[in-house]
């Protein structure tokens, strides 16, 4: 099955059609997606800023990362669930939209980077240069995810 056929089937599914048929489900799901984004953004920013030497300088990045980890993971779960719901209702539009593929590529990179390299840097003390570079890459990747996502809504 081609990707387009799969996306079409998703959109034509009971779930996709139910969301399309309601004027409320899509906007309300978007609200959760946006709240999740704000929480995720805060959790990532706090730690990345610390790695850059900004913000809560009195506390080790390891401690901050540990403290906000439940927020980050909770927000990611909310975003994934609401994001899939949004996607199913307009999968075919997404297929033809460059911003969708841009966002998904950025998301794959951001998740991989966050849960491999960044996690490793936040486990053990590393050189300041490594910490700064890690934060900059993380911020760029997640900004691309956010901007790409917002752009899916524009033709």
């Amino acid at each position: 099955m081609s990707i387009l056929a799969f996306f079409t089937a998703l959109e034509q599914s009971w779930l996709g059609q139910t969301i399309q048929g309601s004027i409320y489900i899509f906007p309300i799901t978007e609200v959760f997606h946006l709240l999740g984004l704000a929480v995720l953004g805060g959790a990532i920013l706090l730690v990345d800023m610390r790695l850059l030497g900004l913000g809560l300088k009195n506390h080790p990045p390891q401690q901050l990362a540990r403290d906000v980890q439940p927020l980050m993971k909770g927000a990611l779960a909310v975003m994934a669930l609401s994001g899939i719901t949004l996607f199913v209702s307009e999968a075919v539009k997404c297929y033809y939209h460059q911003a969708f593929w841009f966002k998904m590529s950025a998301l794959a990179l951001a998740l991989t980077f966050t849960f491999t390299w960044r996690k490793k840097v936040l486990r053990s003390p590393s050189a300041p240069a490594t910490q700064k570079l890690t934060a900059i890459i993380s911020l760029i990747l997640w900004s691309c995810v956010g901007i790409g996502g917002r752009w899916i809504g524009f033709e």
Partner: protein
């Protein structure tokens, strides 16, 4: 007045531009991330949910500048979003609700900073802040979340007045 603002040249220019509106809105969303992210962390700290070992004054001193750094671009782009299509805001209960909650959130912050926060030295290191600070934190979370919810729903005018 709203009608007149919508006919000014710059308002029309943003409204009709292909790129300006998405760019302004993207900055608005990124501003929300920084602003709400920082506000939420302080609120959750007051409630004793996260960063319990970090003194409250550490958060306020180090994060408030970043809260402002998020607030300023968010407020400017927010004004521009109203400016480019004022009638959309005028004819919209979600916009009015958002505005009321914005004011309440501001008053809540003012009450916190002029009230219980004056005596922060007494409870700076407590894992859970005193009752009045927790109330301020909870109101702040609810009001700002409400602002985001109402703001997003402005685009879906479910109850048009006219």
């Amino acid at each position: 007045m709203f009608e007149w603002v919508g006919t000014t040249p710059w308002s029309v220019a943003i409204h009709e531009s292909l790129w300006l509106y998405p760019i302004i809105e993207s900055i608005h969303v990124l501003g929300i991330c920084l602003f709400f992210g920082m506000v939420m962390l302080l609120d959750l700290r007051l409630l004793g949910i996260t960063l319990r070992t970090v003194p409250v004054t550490d958060l306020t001193k180090k994060l408030l500048p970043w809260t402002f750094a998020g607030f300023v671009p968010m407020a400017i782009t927010g004004l521009l979003l109203v400016y480019q299509d004022p009638l959309r805001a005028y004819d919209n209960y979600f916009f009015q609700a958002k505005f009321v909650m914005l004011i309440l959130a501001g008053l809540n912050a003012l009450a916190f900073h002029t009230g219980i926060y004056k005596r922060v030295a007494d409870w700076d290191r407590d894992p859970v802040a005193p009752f009045r600070a927790r109330v301020a934190g909870a109101f702040s979370l609810l009001l700002w979340a409400g602002v985001i919810i109402a703001g997003r729903l402005i685009a879906y005018n479910w109850f048009p007045k006219t």
